[in-house]
Amino acid sequence: MLTTQIAQHAKDLTSVVLGRRIRSKFCFVRKLSMAAIKPSISVEYAGNATIMRFTDEKILEEKDIQALQESIMSVIEQAERINLILDFGNVRFLSSAVLGLLIRVSKRIYERDGQLGLCNINPKIYEIFKITRLTKTFDIYNDIESATEGLSGPN
């Protein structure tokens, strides 16, 4: 009798463990497929600033750039007058198509009386901004802290 109870208990335990395994695997797959659908960009808020951080090292694919633009534009539309900081800390490579995205985003922000700051730009990427003279068009800051301070003044 006791042996049967122990065997049953062991069986229940096994299914719990298996169940957990199955569930965690499922979550992982779901996470992967979500990442495949949308390129990564995170959003957080610091005071009156909205910080959007590119999480991919390379931003190249046309469809990814289009999806990023849609994500950023939707955040802009949701705010009344956004103080947006775009954090490039993770970005190691981009093409001129991303510069186009930034121009379109900045136009939309200025139309809505908002402000835009770029920060944490790696030296190689900064060179691209310099060559194209976009260092004169965009407000570029060293880090999030200085960007937050820079955009906190009256707009």
């Binding site: 046309e62 490579f93 001129s96 510069l99 121009i103 379109r104 060559i131 194209t132």
Partner: protein, 151 residues
Amino acid sequence: MASKASINSSIVVDSKSSAVVEVCKEILAKLEEHNFDKDDTFAVHLTLEEAFLNAVKHGNKNDPTKKVKIDYSVTSEKVEITITDEGAGFEPESVDDPRFGTGLYEPGGRGLLLMNSYMDIVKYNEEGNSVYMVRYKEKPTLSEGHNQTQV
């Protein structure tokens, strides 16, 4: 006519933007084999992205039935790349400089500027559908007369 001296490998791919991935993979691997540094790799990668996308979008007008041909050569001294599309060609001089005037606020038009900045030689053929580009591992002296040129 764009010079095609010492070009010894060719890739022909479908005219779609995603095809640039395999082109970059092949050529950048050759750069690594020949000990090009990170600056060179960054420059050639960026140039390939820009030139290839120009060929697909502006040259072949996003026609997926067309092809893009990439001829290249990598030696211990330099990398040479020629990208040819099946389009009608264009006049590089007719492209406005995006650094000045309203160009600064236009979303497009920076690809050619970046190619010219990151490569030591940039030349187009007469038809304007083929671009030949060179980057030297060690920069040539000014007396050798290598500049960023458009012909």
